[in-house]
Amino acid sequence: MDVLKKVPVREQDPKVRATNFDEVCLGYNKEEAMTEASRCLKCKNARCMGGCPVSINIPGFIREVEKGDFEAAAKVIAEASALPAVCGRVCPQESQCEGVCVRGIKGEPISIGKLERFVADWSRENGFVPAAPEKTNGHKVAVIGSGPSGLTCAGDLAKMGYEVTIFEALHQPGGVLIYGIPEFRLPKDTVVKTEIENVKKLGVKIETDVVIGKSVTIDELLEEEGFEAVFIGSGAGLPMFMGIPGENANGVFSANEYLTRSNLMKAFRDDYDTPIAAGKKVAVVGGGNVAMDAARTALRLGADVHIVYRRSEAELPARVEEVHHAKEEGIQFDLLTNPTEILTDEKGWVRGMRCIRMELGEPDASGRRRPVPIPGSEFEMELDTVIMSLGTSPNPLISSTTKGLETNRRKCIVAEESTGKTSREGVFAGGDAVTGAATVILAMEAGRAGARGIHEFLSGKSE
């Protein structure tokens, strides 16, 4: 074994997986996990823990993995995270725990994400369930949204003894874990549903089909339904479009729509009613994780797929692993390219897209070099489908129906980072509804902060 290198993880062959929706990464087995764990230096001042938004005791659980005591490892992780099987799969480890790993200074960092995933998968397969509190403290808390921030907040509060009800607008709990991230990256029936079941086993109730702000308002939850505090984890919101001509043509979708049809509504399966216009020649505009997910979904539905991104590869916001997988599967990257118009046929369907080449100029406000069009470099791509993956803007449903809830210039809810406290007493918020579109783990961090804030607020009140 070369201690400077990660134990390689088994994956489905790119040619095979490009035609199915099964999970790409197969994960470690016991032996591989224990070998990888033995590479860990068990640093006293564990920098990886500082790199983890929810501060999992990483050397602690890795030590247990090395010993082969996986249940003990699961318990260590459960102290900090309710969704380890999810995080092990979708966290951007390279910029968090693994990014600061001391092993990584000379050689490759410990494969912390893959080890976390192994422990979580082992727990599921062996029926290990985190323990529920013996009795509740009688305080009722409402959590809005069952995505990563809501589930984390609810799980933490339930462990402290609160009676928690999650309200979910869609017909299935899980938020972006269900409607957004595809099956081949995050299996729904095994991984996501089990982790949600585990949160329920802590005593959390989930009511689906409730749109807060419409079916019932936050004011009503507080004044009529007996909730003493509310956590808003309602997610990112409305998809953005570019505002270029032809964008309302048939065959132009937001990544949200395309992914929701495929993931939540299972349009890729014949036995489900929801249709999806899969496309044969597809361009996905954008360079984030969502863009990679949409592109790889279209590929699996049989399309020839291009990613069109206005900056260069170095600026791609997606996880390195996703870009790597997308390339392996045959997705073509048109970098430094920006659409200017979507071309349509006489019936209003997409027939192509006019684009312009870009070059990188001076750094902009985000610190990244600003892409500038190269005059005279326009060209046309022949396409039947365009998927816009440009991010989201906040959904006004909750902020416009809740009295005294302050929003910022970008219409995001204003909340204190360390407690989730908003301008309205008893109302806390976190995740994409506060920050704008970010990652699963950052939403979980905000969910934990919200749980702490609510606990401080309610324990202060009862004294």
């Binding site: 919101g237 929701t260 509504m265 009613d273 249709p275 449903l397």
Partner: protein, 296 residues
């Protein structure tokens, strides 16, 4: 689960159901809609709220068979239950927030086309309960397709019915009636609310523009989640992109780009039709729909 308390056939392929959904019944207002998903494999179908009973906790919906999911939905009976029933969605009609006194001064006419009679009914009923008697024009293909006539008559000021083939009351379109009322009978209207097929709403808008009547339409584009997340229901209103589910479904009809909206509505027509054929013909479906590749 959301139990169906009553299921009744109103006309060919049109069904009415009372569904137990206390949260929706408690908070819904005219102009809003619900999304219903009948079972695990069903689509999320946006449906009109036709009536509601806050005490009983029930919501009345009207469904027309257009695709595989609605076909299976319409076969459901009292005692069955929908897996999901979520709402109310969208924004309520403008008038529910208007000053009651100034509302009473307004002359309002509704033009309902076919299934559009269902969402018009709770609006007219709400106005009636608030002391405003609105005129209602109901247009339908033929006598059999006129729905909710007695209910509408009970709450409307004047009810005018017209049929495309002349099999009931009179022959002609809703627009013909509206033109006659204004031009021949000298009626004055401040507001027109038109709800029905997009093509009908487009023609009502062309007429009311000519007659100078402010017009509200209720758009029913393709939707998935219905809460603003997917953008499938986007349309152009006054040169701006709007989402029917959160910005609508009601818009100023004179600003709506109907031609674009109608093109967008075609997007899944073929897929829906294909799924329906597959359902009806089962394994015996071997092409002919022109889409499934079954003839290849």
């Amino acid at each position: 689960m959301f139990q169906i308390l009553k299921a009744e056939k109103l006309a060919d392929k049109i069904y009415l159901m009372d569904v137990e959904a206390p949260r929706v019944a408690k908070s819904c207002l005219p102009g809003e809609f619900v999304i219903v998903k009948m079972d695990e494999v069903g689509e999320r179908i946006p449906l009109t709220i036709c009536d509601y009973d806050r005490e009983k906790g029930t919501v009345t919906i009207v469904i027309q068979v257009v695709g595989a999911s609605t076909q299976r939905m319409c076969e459901m009976q009292a005692g069955d239950a929908f897996q999901d029933f979520v709402g109310p969605l969208g924004r309520p009609s403008e008038f529910v927030n208007e000053d009651p006194e100034s509302l009473k001064q307004k002359k309002i006419v509704f033009v309902a086309g076919g299934l559009g009679t269902a969402p018009v009914y709770p609006q007219v009923k709400w106005l009636h309960e608030h002391g405003v008697d609105a005129d209602v024009i109901v247009g339908a293909r033929n006598r059999e397709m006129v729905i909710l006539e007695d209910e509408m008559r009970a709450v409307a000021g004047n009810l005018y019915i017209t049929t495309d083939d002349g099999s009931y009351v009179r022959k002609g379109m809703g627009t013909d009636v509206l033109r006659e009322l204004v031009e021949k009978e000298g009626k004055h209207y401040d507001v027109c609310v038109a709800i029905g097929p997009m093509i009908m709403m487009k023609f009502v808008c062309l007429l009311t523009k000519e007659l100078g009547i402010h017009t509200i339409v209720s758009m029913n584009p393709v939707m998935v989640d219905g809460t603003g997340m997917c953008g499938a229901c986007r349309l152009t209103v006054g040169g701006q992109v709007k989402f029917a589910c959160v910005d609508g479904p009601e818009f100023d009809g004179h600003l709506v780009d109907f031609d674009e909206a109608m093109k967008r509505q075609q997007m899944y027509k073929t897929q829906e039709g294909r799924a329906l054929l597959k359902l009806q013909e089962g394994d015996t479906h071997h092409g002919g729909c022109g889409n499934c590749g079954g003839d290849k």
